[in-house]
């Protein structure tokens, strides 16, 4: 089970080729700015993504996400190795 920073359907892409979702689906929309890394998806399927940009659309703001390779668990292992004393 994952606790994501921003809920998204990781199947969704638009003409940019990036995954997209709405800014108001973030746990803390203030953290969603271009360049930052986030965990996106839902409790069962999540991925580490980089925020590309924010674009007004429909009744809100669309967030484009670059899907990064690897699993969330692999990033956790990476960080644990890096921080091990």
């Amino acid at each position: 089970m994952y606790q994501v920073d921003i809920t998204a359907d990781l199947n969704d892409e638009d003409e940019t080729g990036f995954v997209w979702t709405f800014l108001d689906e973030a746990r803390d929309p203030g953290q969603i700015t271009p360049g930052v890394l986030v965990v996106a998806g839902d409790e069962e399927a999540a991925a580490v993504c980089q925020v590309v940009d924010l674009v007004p659309a429909g009744d809100g703001t669309i967030v484009h996400l670059r899907l990064l390779p690897g699993l969330v668990d692999e990033y956790r292992a990476l960080v644990e190795r890096a921080l091990a004393s």
Binding site: L10, D12, A46, I62, L71
Partner: protein, 137 residues
């Protein structure tokens, strides 16, 4: 600042519909509730002919082998759905060639409980994704 929905009609790719036997991939394990949320998200952002577009995303196996598509795009999903385009059509669902090839939107008409259950049936059984790291497949 909110904007207009993104009209898809003129953005649809000019290409023939996938053959009936073409496999269609959707990652994850859906429920009627999840499908409803995804359909509503699409309808918030996109329109078709001026009306909110009800739909969910899938990828067709076109131009690259299934294994390559799964490794390239679906490696974060433990499970996938793998219906054919024909199966979706038999259940009354149209595939719209949205975004970049091979992405498609499965179009719904009402997105009520009955249609969402019908879509889940059309997707078939979720199956293990052989491209998920550590998969035994």
């Amino acid at each position: 600042m909110p904007g207009e929905r993104i009209e898809q009609r003129l953005r649809l790719r000019a290409e023939q519909p996938p053959a009936e036997t073409t496999l269609v991939v959707r990652g994850g394990r859906d429920t009627p509730g999840k499908l409803r949320a995804h359909v509503q998200r699409t309808a918030r952002a996109w329109s078709l002919d001026g009306q909110p577009l009800l739909g969910i995303s899938v990828f067709a196996v076109l131009g690259e082998p299934l294994d390559d598509l799964l490794r390239r795009r679906f490696a974060t999903f433990r499970t996938i759905y793998l219906p054919t385009a024909g199966r979706l059509a038999e259940h009354g669902f149209e595939l719209l060639p949205t975004a970049q090839r091979p992405h498609f939107t499965v179009r719904l008409r009402r997105a009520d409980d009955q249609e969402l259950a019908h879509l889940l049936e059309a997707l078939g059984a979720a199956q293990p994704n052989p491209a998920y790291p550590g998969s035994a497949a």
